[in-house]
């Protein structure tokens, strides 16, 4: 005890407040956008939070002003771009609360995903929960202006992406953690696609197809995305419009799971995709009388099955014949069966 006290005092007095950085001296980066620039350079846009405006947003002076600023810098490396901000803004950037990274498709086409995300994958400040999105429109524009309901545009994008289970045309979210798993693998994957919607708004619909060598090979349209979602089984709360007798009814699923099995016979590889679903007729434009007949209900079931089957066949065919990319994780199933 007598030795411990002076030792403790030495530890404290010599170290002081080393490495401490007060929370109000930090610029929280909420979103990052990566755009192509001239030459081999690219432009990074940072969305930095202004906490004081967030707290006093109701005050008349701040009304209508978004509680963030967007700062862009051009350079050949991410780190340089980040540090360049230090010469222009008072607060050092902090990425611990980074919500989204949006990458322009032109950059994805170059197949440099591994390098362009290197800082975001390996730096100690980065969190694996950060979402990755792709965009055909200039990302700088996408991050502009506040979208009502959320304080930050980046937060809005993140929150919209979280609705993927309810919106069929939106692919499952892809986070930094997912990307770090995908990159060393040879299989392809989908990055959700964000685009401009009307003037200020955004919409997440469709996806960017990335092949095994991390290169963008094409884009999924919303309908194809629905099929993709069904195959990977991320559609539990989805809504499906089905036509029956020239009228429409909506099938709302409570449960929709997919099981993929693999068979290797006669030197041919076969995958079986089984979809199990449970749900209700969420909305009906059909004749009420008919609905009470069992026979008619069975007919509706077949119609739903047919619709789902058609969508799945569509997306599998596109992947097999057009993009030659395995985005469903079939490769993983073979690996786990063989091992």
């Amino acid at each position: 005890m007598k030795k411990a006290i002076p030792l403790f005092l030495i530890l404290i007095l010599l170290s002081g407040c080393w490495d401490s950085k007060e929370i109000e001296e930090i610029g929280f980066v909420m979103g990052v956008g990566l755009d192509p620039a001239e030459g081999d350079a690219f432009e990074t846009t940072f969305q930095i939070a202004i906490p004081s405006q967030l707290v006093q947003q109701s005050s008349p002076a701040n009304k209508g002003k978004p509680p963030f600023i967007n700062v862009s810098s051009v350079g050949k490396s991410n780190f340089k771009n980040i540090r360049q901000i230090g010469a222009r803004r008072s607060r050092t950037l902090n990425f611990e609360h980074l919500q989204v990274i949006v990458i322009h498709t032109e950059l994805l086409e170059l197949g440099i995903l591994e390098h362009i995300l290197d800082v975001y994958l390996r730096d100690h400040e980065m969190r694996r929960r950060t979402l990755i999105l792709a965009s055909e429109d200039p990302v700088k524009e996408l991050l502009k202006n506040q979208l009502p309901l959320e304080s930050f545009k980046a937060k809005s994008i993140e929150k919209i992406q979280e609705n993927y289970q309810r919106v069929l045309s939106m692919p499952k979210l892809t986070s930094i953690g997912d990307i770090s798993r995908y990159i060393p693998k040879e299989t392809g994957y989908i990055i959700p696609l964000i685009s401009k919607f009307e003037s200020d708004e955004v919409i997440i619909e469709g996806g960017a197809i990335i092949n095994g060598s991390d290169k963008l090979v094409g884009l999924l349209n919303p309908l194809e995305t629905e099929g993709y979602n069904r195959v990977i089984g991320e559609t539990n709360q989805s809504v499906t419009e089905v036509k029956a007798d020239d009228e429409v009814f909506v099938y709302e699923s409570y449960l929709m799971n997919s099981y993929i099995s693999f068979e290797h016979t006669n030197d041919e590889n076969t995958f079986h995709i089984t979809i199990k679903t449970e749900g209700a007729i969420g909305e009906s434009w059909l004749n009420q009388k008919k609905l009470s007949e069992n026979k008619f209900l069975f007919k509706l079931q077949t119609l739903i099955e047919q619709k789902i089957e058609k969508e799945i066949n569509g997306i599998v065919k596109v992947m097999q014949e057009e993009y030659y990319t395995d985005v469903f994780g079939f490769g993983d199933i073979i690996k786990s069966e063989n091992s």
């Binding site: 411990a4 401490s20 950085k21 007060e22 929370i23 109000e24 929280f28 906490p51 707290v55 609360h97």
Partner: protein, 483 residues
Amino acid sequence: MKFPKKELNIPENLKYFKNEIVNLLSNSDDIKYKEISVGNNLYSLIIYIDGITDINKIELEITLPLQKMQNDELKELKATTSPESFISNHVLPDMQISTFITAKEAVQGLLNGKSVLLLNEIDTFFLLGSQKFENRSIEQPESEVSIRGPRDAFIEEIVSNTSLIRKHLPNQNLVIENGQIGSVAKKKFSLVYLKGVVDKNTLEEISFRINCITTDNIQDTGEIEQLIEDNVLSPFPQMISTERPDKTVAFLQEGKVALLLQGSPFALIMPVSLNDHFKSPEDYYNRWHVGSLIRNLRYSSAFVALFLPSIYIAMVSFHQGMIPTTLALSIAGAREGVAFPSFLEAIIMEITFEILREAGVRLPRPVGQTIGIVGGLVIGDAVVRAQIVSPIMIIVVALTALASFTLPSVSISVSFRMLRFLLMIAAATLGLYGIILGFIMISTHLVGLRSFGHYYTTPVAPILKKELGDVIFRLPLTIVKKK
């Protein structure tokens, strides 16, 4: 008998003794004498100290019977070989009587409220139990309030205190061992324990340590606690002081020893472990769900009282990534414009709170409400408006303060409050790592600490499975049988 008898005539004989007592008591003015003649040629002198004796009793039960003594009785008294038993049996049958040999002993008796009776011609001197100290009545406990359960509290009179314990525990094995403490002002103390349940070695150790005390005067059990504790440097109290007899009885039943001191309304319980500080008798009076939940609440409050300000400092100045995004931004927004770094901010507010608390204790009751106004309005509101501290810090301080008051033992909450500052410094220098280091230091100290040879962290370390049911949870009484 130390004075020569034959050379002096009767009144001189008494005078001599009277002078000796007066000298020993430094001629104090509150010593009163009463000379009465008994029969024809017998004189008696009664000495007592004014204020601590019952004058009515002296008048009715000593003076009157003496004066009524008949001549044949006097003769018998002179003739008898044991005047003490004659007086206690025939003359003063209602009195508590003891004899003494030296004047020093007589003075000790006088100081304890007894009166001295001297009879010339008789070689024996008597101490008569006529003491009457002013006592307050038994009231509700001041520092340990409970909603359910007995409402009586100890007072400054040791006999009433032991009687309270007897009342709550009419057990034939209950032993009350009396003794005297203090080298100059001798005060009565009692060691209370349950024979058969108490550990004999511990009891011996306790009496040994108490006997080693050589201080002139002991005012309160708090002083004894400091003189006999195992580790003087430790911030943790190794004994529990309580003013509740029911709490004392509960501890006695667990085999612990209680120390009572004349003039102190606090019993000292020993040996204790850390989790005893978290136990309140109310835990047992309420149903076990409530008892368990409240006890768990207390443990988490202790955690909050110890760690919350340091965690705040560590989070705000080191690990901003660990705060949820929305909260991080609102803390950042609230702290914008605050002049001090979070550590200074926390230190300022914690010290302010300690000042408020101390002032609240010292303030006389009629002006006590001022504390609320000063604390709530001036400190709470104005300090935030002046941007000296952020509103979040006020929440942290208030929560910490409230949490530290949930502990049923005052002394342990004080030690948590002290350690809090240590942890805050650790957090300001090394962040969460510093808090962990501090926690490890506290833990290593705790497992090494002992209270009268008993490990302080029992029954958790070393683990005693039988007693675990009454540590974190308070299992139903049907499962955990109290001894």
